[in-house]
C-alpha cells in the first residue's frame, strides 16, 4: 500500500471506535418515527430511574460510547457552545457497568446512601443518519437527583443519541452525547447519568 492509501485507510472513520469519529450529522427529519423512538427512550430512562441497571446496560451496544463535551461560553453566538475535543466525562459500556455496579459495593461512598434520579424527556425528534439501520435522536432532558436534605440537583441538557434499530423492534444505543446548558456544573450535577 502506498503511504497515501495507508493514510486514507486509517482515516476511514468506520475503522475507528465511536469515540474517535465525529458525531453523526442530522439527516432528513423523520417525524413518523418520533413516537416509537420516544417510547424506547422513555423505557430506557425508566430503567435508570428505577435502578434496573442490568436492563439499562442491555440496551447499550457493545461499542457504546457516552460523552459530555466541555461547555464553552463564547462571545459569538454562531460558534459551537460545546467543545468537539474536550470532555467533562467519557464512558464506555464497561465503565458505565462499573459505575452502576458500585451500588453493590459497601464502600462506594458517593453511591451510598444512593440518591433518587428522575429523567424528564421532551421534544424527542428523529433524524436519518448515514450508517445503515441507525437513527439520530435528539431530545431535551431535565434530570433531578436528590439525596438527603441539602443535596437536590436539577440539571438541563440537550441530548443527542445514535440509535441502532434493525426494524424488528430491537433498539440499541450506539452513542450518547450530552450538551449541558450551564457552563460550569457542580460535582453532583456531573455525577448524574443522563
Amino acid at each position: 500500500m502506498t503511504d497515501a492509501a495507508a493514510l486514507t485507510a486509517r482515516l476511514d472513520p468506520t475503522d475507528l471506535p465511536y469515540e474517535l469519529r465525529p458525531f453523526p450529522a442530522r439527516g432528513a427529519r423523520r417525524t413518523e418515527l418520533d413516537n416509537s423512538f420516544a417510547a424506547f427512550l422513555t423505557e430506557e430512562s425508566a430503567a435508570l430511574d428505577e435502578c434496573r441497571y442490568q436492563d439499562w446496560l442491555d440496551l447499550l451496544d457493545e461499542r457504546f460510547i457516552y460523552q459530555l463535551p466541555v461547555p464553552l461560553l463564547r462571545e459569538d453566538p454562531s460558534l459551537p457552545r460545546h467543545s468537539d475535543r474536550a470532555l467533562l466525562f467519557e464512558a464506555t459500556k464497561q465503565v458505565l457497568a462499573m459505575k452502576l455496579g458500585r451500588v453493590g459495593l459497601q464502600y462506594a461512598w458517593s453511591d451510598r446512601p444512593s440518591g433518587v434520579m428522575r429523567h424528564f424527556l421532551g421534544a424527542v425528534r428523529v433524524f436519518s443518519a448515514a450508517e445503515p439501520d441507525t437513527w439520530r435522536v435528539d431530545c431535551n432532558v431535565l434530570v433531578t437527583w436528590s439525596r438527603g436534605r441539602d443535596e437536590a440537583v436539577v440539571v438541563t441538557a440537550g441530548r443527542q443519541d445514535l440509535v441502532h434499530c434493525s426494524g424488528r423492534g430491537g433498539y440499541r444505543l450506539l452513542r450518547r452525547r450530552v450538551l449541558l446548558d450551564a457552563e460550569v456544573a457542580t460535582h453532583e450535577q456531573l455525577s448524574v447519568i443522563f
Binding site: P17, E19, L20, L68, V70, L72, L73, R74, E75, D76, S83, R85, A86, L87, L88, F89, E90, A91, T92, Q94, V95, M98, K99, G101, R102, L105, Y107, A108, W109, S110, D111, D150, E183, V184, A185, T186, H187, L190, S191, I193
Partner: protein, 453 residues
C-alpha cells in the same frame, strides 16, 4: 486564628483549627494575605496560540483577562472597567485586540491601555488623561508554558517562589522531551468544601487511597497497573517519597520496587517510564540529566501542590477502563482550586500531553483522565468529592468547631532519602502528612503576617 494555629503547631499532633475550613472571615484574610501575595497558576501558553487570544480566569477573588498581545507576550488584566467597574469580558475565551465596555463604551487595548473614551473631547475635563485609567495589570511570568501571575509588588520573582519545586517541575517536563500541550479547553466544576481540603489531598494524601477509593480498587479500575495505594501486585510494591518545601509546595512520588525493598536503588541501569510507549524510552532518557532519569524512572505515580492552590497528578490506566488492546497509558493533569466562598471551590483541570507523541496516544491519555479523574469521573473523583462534601457537612457546629483536626501522620517517622536526585528534604514514608504540614506551615506563616508587632 492563625496565631492559634502557630501555637498549636508546637503541640503534639500538630492540630489544626477547623474554622479555617468554613469561615468566610478566614477566607477574606486568605484572599488578602495568601492569594494576593502569592504567584498563582492561571493557565498555559498553548491555550493562547495567537495574538489577541484571551481567557477569563480568576486570580484570588478577582476576575482577570489573560491575553496574548501582538508581540507574543502575556498580559493579565483586571476584568473590570476603570469607569464604573463593569465586567469587560463576559465570555470565557475568545480573540480580541480591544475590550469595549458594554456600559458606556470605554475601550481598552489587550495590554490594558485605555484607548477610547466616548465624548472625551466634548464632555471630559481638559486634564482627564486616558493613561491614568488603564486596567490594573498583574505581574506575569510564563515559565515553560505555565502562566503564573500575582497582584503583589513584593512577592519575589516566580523562580524564587517556586524554589526547590522548580527542579521537580523541570524534571517532570523534561521527561517527555520538554514540550507539552494542553489537550482541549480545560474541564471545570464546582465542588462542596473549602479549597484547602482538596489541595491538601493532592499535596500528599496517600493515606486516603485505601479507604476513599476502596471501591475503585475492588473494581480494578487500575487493571494491571500498580497504582494500588500502598500495596503493589505480585513481586512488586510501591515506595512513597515525600518532599515538602519551605514555600509550601509538595511532591509525593511513588516508585515501583522489588517486593521487600525498603529503599530506592541508587543507580538506574534500565530506565523505565511507566505508561509511555517503550519505543520512546531511550529517547526520553537521552533528553534528561542523569538526576532527572533517577527521579522519573520507575515512577508510577507523582502528585503534589504548587502553593497556594495548584495541584498536579500523573498516573496510568490500562484496558480496565479502555478498549481491549489499550496499553498502560499515563495521564498528567494540572489543576487549580479557586475558592468561590469558604465552602465552595471551583476546580479547573488541564490534561497535558507530550507534543511529540502521536494523536492516538494523546487521545487515549485524555480519555483515561476523562473516564476516571475528570470533573465527571464517576469511578474515582466522585468519592473524593463525596468526602470533601462530608467534611463540609459536619465541620462547623458549635462543638465541632472546638475540636481540632489532626495532621500528625508520620510526624518524626520519615527517614531522609540518601542521595535523592532532587533538592529539598525528601523522606521515605509511604503514608505521611509531611507534605500537608509543609503546606499548612507556609499558609500559617502568610496568615500571621501583620498580626505580630
Amino acid at each position: 486564628m492563625a496565631e492559634a494555629l502557630r501555637r498549636q503547631e508546637s503541640l503534639p499532633g500538630f492540630p489544626l483549627d477547623r474554622r479555617a475550613f468554613f469561615d468566610d472571615v478566614v477566607l477574606d484574610r486568605e484572599f488578602r494575605q495568601v492569594f494576593k501575595e502569592s504567584w498563582q497558576l492561571l493557565g498555559f501558553a498553548s491555550e493562547l496560540p495567537d495574538p489577541g487570544d484571551y481567557l477569563v480566569r480568576r486570580l484570588g477573588n478577582d476576575s482577570v483577562i489573560v491575553a496574548r498581545d501582538e508581540q507574543g507576550g502575556f498580559s493579565v488584566l483586571l476584568n473590570s472597567c476603570s469607569h464604573r467597574g463593569t465586567q469587560l469580558c463576559r465570555a470565557t475565551f475568545g480573540n480580541a485586540a480591544h475590550f469595549r465596555c458594554s456600559y458606556h463604551g470605554w475601550t481598552f487595548a489587550n495590554d490594558g491601555r485605555l484607548v477610547g473614551v466616548p465624548s472625551i473631547r466634548s464632555n471630559y475635563p481638559k486634564d482627564f488623561r486616558k493613561q491614568d485609567h488603564d486596567l490594573p495589570r498583574a505581574r506575569v511570568t510564563c515559565y515553560r508554558g505555565f502562566i503564573f501571575a500575582t497582584w503583589s509588588d513584593q512577592a519575589p520573582p516566580l523562580e524564587e517562589h517556586l524554589g526547590d519545586f522548580r527542579w521537580y517541575l523541570d524534571a517532570m517536563l523534561d521527561l517527555a522531551g520538554g514540550e507539552w500541550e494542553v489537550y482541549g479547553p480545560p474541564q471545570r466544576s464546582v465542588m462542596k468544601g473549602n479549597w484547602k481540603v482538596v489541595t491538601d489531598n493532592f499535596a500528599g494524601d496517600g493515606y486516603h487511597m485505601g479507604t476513599t477509593h476502596q471501591a475503585a480498587f475492588e473494581q480494578g479500575i487500575y487493571g494491571d497497573s500498580l497504582a494500588d495505594g500502598t500495596l503493589g501486585k505480585g513481586e512488586l510494591e510501591l515506595i512513597g517519597i515525600n518532599i515538602g518545601t519551605p514555600q509550601g509546595h509538595a511532591v509525593r512520588a511513588g516508585y515501583v520496587v522489588q517486593k521487600g525493598r525498603r529503599t530506592l536503588p541508587s543507580t538506574v541501569t534500565d530506565p523505565a517510564y511507566i505508561g509511555y510507549p517503550r519505543e520512546v524510552w531511550e529517547q526520553f532518557t537521552a533528553a534528561q540529566t542523569p538526576e532527572q532519569v533517577r527521579f522519573n524512572s520507575h515512577c508510577e505515580v507523582v502528585h503534589g501542590v504548587v502553593f497556594p492552590n495548584a495541584a498536579f497528578l500523573s498516573v496510568s490506566h490500562d484496558r480496565a477502563i479502555g478498549r481491549e488492546n489499550d496499553p498502560l497509558t499515563k495521564y498528567v493533569v494540572w489543576r487549580v482550586h479557586n475558592p468561590i466562598d469558604a465552602r465552595r471551590t471551583e476546580c479547573t483541570y488541564w490534561t497535558l500531553v507530550p507534543r511529540q507523541l502521536d494523536e492516538d496516544w494523546k487521545r487515549r491519555s485524555y480519555a483515561f483522565q476523562a473516564r476516571s479523574q475528570s470533573a465527571g469521573g464517576i469511578l474515582f473523583e466522585m468519592d473524593d468529592f463525596e468526602n470533601f462534601a462530608r467534611i463540609d457537612a459536619a465541620i462547623s457546629g458549635t462543638v465541632a468547631d472546638t475540636a481540632p483536626l489532626d495532621l500528625s501522620l508520620g510526624l518524626g517517622l520519615g527517614t531522609p532519602v540518601p542521595d535523592f536526585p532532587g533538592p529539598g528534604r525528601a523522606e521515605y514514608l509511604t503514608l505521611s502528612e509531611h507534605n500537608q504540614r509543609a503546606f499548612y506551615r507556609r499558609w500559617a506563616e502568610l496568615m500571621e503576617e501583620g498580626t505580630r508587632d
